[in-house]
């Protein structure tokens, strides 16, 4: 039983070389190993995922396959009889279809095998490996990916069990640790604060000033949390504003309209490249009267700042800049780190259990278990019968035992031969799993 940390998981490490070269194999890139340009290129569309899974399964050494592709990661999970071959197949397949040089891909990719792969899968599903740890979307994305694979009959006994375990581990971590409960990104922190000010942000109106990538991320999360979906974009280049507003069903306004709009909106997110303040105290002060002092929350994620920090001194107006939000995040990260220790323990436990199951899914342990079961039954019946017979000599008793042994051997001969070699292109694990179920070996 190797520990997770000992798994050969360093990016670019060659596939594990050892006596056991078959099992679960995982190759992937994520936000830590690959920059966004590379991740963009690697991302699989639904159709690409389907064809890729079909192509991979055509290799004789790959019995099950599944592909997870999100904006932060691409993970290919396989059950293979040969780690080395599987690694080469996947990497050359990706570099060919995505036209990325094999060197570049190899440098960014990590490979996990065996229990390291199991542990990685559990950690990804539990959002322990996410860019913002604890974010809940990843589980849904993995479930979708798994569904696609199941629909294409691309998974089998092993991946099915792996994924179901991954889902239950993720669920357990979410309910037993506080990992998902704390804001760890700017937008989470902003939403958390907005809720402390407004109670509910359901019906609040958002104004986005500037249409940068950061603002877009922040606003996306904020919009998801409101039901009004009422949203304005003000941008220097009007057409860019119109485009962004269109994506979130909002409306675009011009920068000059901002002072008037302040009377109607509740949350302002600003991220322009302007060197001066875009919104000043003198603009906000008269507005508060018009608003009948309804609170106004400014989130300034621009550097240099867009919102005059003095606005924070006005009653019922609140200004948070990027550093203030970082402060919120920082504290939550500390809590989260404490929680992730618990989460890692849950993952480790699950990996041990899974590996136990997986190791028993071999021919020898299955035969031994079958033999043991038969022996227990026969010996029990034999001793019952022998009690009813006239006192037997030790020789007679010995003959009965010999007969019992011969019966066990003969009964198990054909199953053993079959399980050791179910025939070409047949998945051994399916029959092993079936046998274990048929004889109720895993009780």
């Amino acid at each position: 039983m190797t520990n997770l940390q000992n798994g050969n998981g360093e990016p670019g490490t060659p596939p594990g070389v050892g006596p056991n070269m078959s099992g679960i194999f995982l190759v992937g890139v994520n936000h830590k190993t690959a920059p966004v340009e590379l991740r963009e290129k690697l991302a699989f569309t639904d159709v690409q995922t389907q064809t890729a899974m079909e192509l991979l399964r055509q290799s004789s050494h790959i019995s099950e396959a599944m592909i997870i592709s999100t904006c932060n990661r691409v993970e290919v999970v396989l059950v293979t009889s040969d780690y080395g071959l599987a690694g080469n197949t996947v990497l050359s397949f990706i570099s060919k279809t995505k036209s990325i040089s094999p060197q570049r891909l190899k440098a960014a990719a990590y490979i996990y095998t065996g229990d390291a792969a199991v542990g990685h899968m559990f950690r990804v599903a539990s959002s322990l490996d996410s860019m913002m740890i604890g974010e809940p979307q990843i589980l849904g994305q993995i479930k979708t990916a798994y569904k696609t694979a199941v629909n294409h009959k691309s998974t089998g006994v092993i991946l099915n069990r792996l994924m179901h375990k991954a889902f239950s581990v993720a669920k357990r971590i979410r309910s037993e640790t506080g990992i998902g409960g704390h804001a760890v990104s700017i937008s989470y922190a902003a939403v958390e604060l907005a809720k402390k000010i407004f109670g509910s942000i359901d019906d609040k109106i958002v104004l986005l000033v500037g249409a940068g990538e950061m603002a877009e991320l922040a606003v996306e999360h904020l919009i998801v949390n409101t039901t009004s979906k009422n949203f304005f974009v003000a941008n220097r280049t009007f057409s860019v504003g119109v485009e962004l507003a269109g994506r979130f069903n909002g409306s675009a306004i011009r920068l000059e309209e901002i002072p008037d709009k302040l009377a109607h909106v509740d949350i302002i997110i600003s991220s322009t490249g302007s060197p001066d303040f875009v919104i000043t105290k003198n603009q906000v002060k008269p507005i508060m009267r018009k608003r009948k002092n309804r609170p106004l929350f400014f989130i300034d994620i621009a550097v240099p700042r867009d919102i005059d920090p003095d606005i924070n001194r006005i009653s019922n107006a609140y200004v948070y800049d990027i550093d203030d939000l970082q402060g919120v995040i920082h504290e939550n990260i500390e809590t989260r780190n404490r929680e992730s220790i618990k989460a890692e323990r849950i993952v480790d436990e699950a990996v041990i259990k899974f590996t136990d199951w997986y190791e028993n899914l071999e021919v020898v342990p299955t035969i031994i278990a079958l033999r043991k079961k038969l022996r227990v039954i026969i010996e029990a019946e034999l001793s019952k019968t022998m009690q009813t017979l006239q006192p037997l000599t030790p020789e007679d008793q010995h003959s009965f035992k010999k007969m019992a042994d011969a019966m066990i051997n003969k009964i198990l001969h054909d199953p053993t031969v079959f399980l050791k070699n179910p025939g070409p292109h047949r998945n051994k694990s399916v029959y092993l799993n079936f046998t274990r179920k048929l004889f109720n070996i895993d009780e």
Binding site: F198, G199, P295
Partner: protein
């Protein structure tokens, strides 16, 4: 009787401890415990006051001991009722200690035997007393939410104190709840004052006698009237409303105690030993 009173104080004390632990530990179980214990204390207290009512044959608010106890009882009652309605659990960390403080004060002041007076035997008086106390309890809770509002607002504005930011509810909820308390308190205060004037007419033959208690009651009433008016007209909400709720309650307390100790008035018999 002293034992019964002591047990009630103990209930409130335990409830306060529970609420303070809840404030720090943020575990629901402590809130539930504190709430249950407070409810037990309140029921025992109700029985105690009811017993006094019948054995004395008049409403037990004739000396400072009884008045403080009655005030504590109305605070507890209003908190328990409104907590049931608004689910503002954390307000217990203010209400329970306030109730306890009043009870301990009542415990410490001597129980002076008062010559029963026919003054206490009117239905008008009972209505007047009960309504005024419930009004004052509501205004006490409004003051509590006002204090919580100012703490939370400071936590959000200063960006440094995350202790309260995490534990206190949103500004909006505090503001709305405080407003509801003030509307309730103000309405009851108005009715209570009117019944008082009617009773004065019955007993002394005049509605208004320029008594210090009367003057201060009206000043208190005007403070809350101004607050409600400004809220509706100019949108006085949030910070200003919170500060006004606190000032208003200080006026209530002064009318309640200050007038009797510092000034002279026709209520002094029962709130000055």
């Amino acid at each position: 009787m002293a034992t019964a009173f002591f047990i009630i104080v103990l209930f409130y004390l335990l409830s306060s401890a529970g609420y303070l632990i809840f404030l720090f530990a943020q575990k629901k179980i402590f809130h539930r415990l504190a709430y249950t214990v407070m409810m037990a204390g309140f029921l025992a207290h109700t029985g105690f006051i009811g017993y006094n009512f019948f054995s004395l044959d008049h409403i037990p608010v004739q000396n400072l001991h009884q008045t403080l106890s009655f005030a504590a009882w109305s605070f507890a009652g209003v908190y328990l009722f409104l907590k049931y309605k608004y689910r503002l659990n954390i307000l217990g960390a203010y209400a329970a200690p306030l109730v306890t403080a009043f009870m301990i004060a009542a415990f410490l002041v001597p129980t002076v035997a008062v010559v029963p007076s026919t003054l206490f035997k009117s239905l008008w008086l009972i209505i007047h007393v009960v309504i005024i106390f419930i009004a004052e309890a509501s205004l006490a809770m409004a003051c509590g939410t006002g204090i919580l509002y100012l703490i939370q607002e400071h936590a959000i504005k200063s960006k440094s104190n995350r202790f309260f930011l995490k534990r206190l509810p949103s500004l909006e909820l505090l503001d709305q709840t405080g407003y509801a308390f003030i509307v309730t308190g103000f309405t009851l205060l108005t009715i209570g004052l009117i019944t008082g004037f009617v009773y004065a007419q019955l007993v002394w033959g005049r509605f208004w006698s320029w008594d210090n208690k009367e003057i201060w009651s009206v000043i208190t009433w005007l403070i809350y009237a101004a607050l409600l008016h400004e809220r509706m007209v100019a949108g006085w909400r949030g910070r200003r409303a919170a500060i006004m709720a606190i000032i208003g309650f200080v006026a209530v307390l002064f009318t309640f105690f200050g007038v009797n100790f510092l000034l002279e008035g026709h209520h002094d018999k029962f709130t000055k030993w």
